[in-house]
Symmetry: C2
Subunit: 186 residues, 2 copies
DNA sequence: TGGAAAACTTACTAACTAGTAAGTAAATTT
DNA sequence: AAATTTACTTACTAGTTAGTAAGTTTTCCA
């Protein structure tokens, strides 16, 4: 039984983590933006670690459901859906992905959050591996080396491109996506 | 005439920015680690913006000199030198690259630092574009699309891989590098 | 309708943040 | 040798941080 307030806090915290990172996420910012007091946030998330862990877990769950909803789609549709999801981060406040944020905040993260983020990234890599593998055997994707190797490259390239787009403009992300798709074309 | 102390502060700050990011960089950490007082750091860098800007500028200069020192080398050697530099970050305290750090800290950065980081990234992209172009015309590199497009992909992939390696281990970076080199092979 | 549990607010703490004003010692210049 | 500049230290400020204890209101259930 998750309360509505708790959900709202977690949602705002998610946005903030993707924008300013875990260390700069503050209870004060959350409470003032939601029209409540500092201690109210602590009521739902006693420690910052609780909040941060919930934020990463929720994002992880969103991805899991996202992947499940695409189960019967083609490899191309799966890839496009993922690219669109990332592009939305870009257009909606220049957010970076949760995994990228966790990776750059890594040194400031409690172990529990580090572990959750690592698991999350591993699952995304595995998902990409299966998508690329299926696409290759269906003849709609082409690439050198293993699907796992290519999946690692694609995952890191997208995370990096999302960040670099902040510095030099959204076109950078679009160009990286175009290059990735061009290289996958048989 | 840069004083030795100022250099030491900037060097330590560079390390810290690559490890914990600009927002978590503190005068206290710097002064205590260098055996001096808070105000001594402020003497050399009056504001945090001054310090942060110097850090990015210095890293930018390091790259410029790095590129100049490789002027007469082959495209393959240039690429390898860049990859080795990034690998050193990884092995020396799991640091991420300055550009990646600036990109993820972007929302907390003063305009002056944002601008410097953007210029820095643009120059790295241009350098990669020239390296890839030369490699292609010499027949040692092969890739689809434009050299600029491929340069964007490579730059973002390396920055992302460096970050992801924090979460799932250094092998991830090595695997991404291997995939990139495999795809460049004619 | 009464009691318990849930969801808060008020009021606070200790630690940390960047930044400053004033004083001091050492080096450099005139 | 005197004056000036450089490189600090001491001591402080105002603001922010996560976190807590105790009290209050609201919701829900028996």
């Amino acid at each position: 039984m998750r309360s509505e307030t708790k959900d709202k806090i977690a949602e705002l915290a998610t946005e903030l983590v993707q924008q300013v990172g875990y260390p700069s996420l503050s209870y004060q910012q959350i409470s003032s933006q939601l029209g409540m007091k500092n201690a109210a946030v602590h009521y739902h998330f006693p420690s910052k670690e609780d909040l941060g862990l919930d934020v990463v877990r929720r994002d992880h769950e969103v991805f899991t459901k996202f992947a499940a909803s695409l189960q019967d789609k083609s490899p191309e549709e799966k890839l496009d859906a993922f690219l669109a999801m990332y592009q939305q981060y870009l257009e909606n406040g220049n957010r970076i992905c949760m995994i990228g944020a966790s990776a750059s905040d890594y040194k400031q993260l409690p172990d529990s959050i580090r572990l959750e983020a690592a698991t999350y990234l591993s699952e995304v890599k595995e998902w990409f591996t299966r998508v690329l593998e299926a696409g290759k055997s269906e003849g709609v994707f082409q690439f050198k080396g293993s699907a796992a190797g290519k999946a690692g490259l694609v995952t890191s390239a997208l995370a990096g491109a999302l960040q670099h787009a902040r510095l030099i403009g959204n076109d950078h992300y679009l160009a990286v996506v175009a290059q990735l798709k061009l290289e996958l074309k048989p």
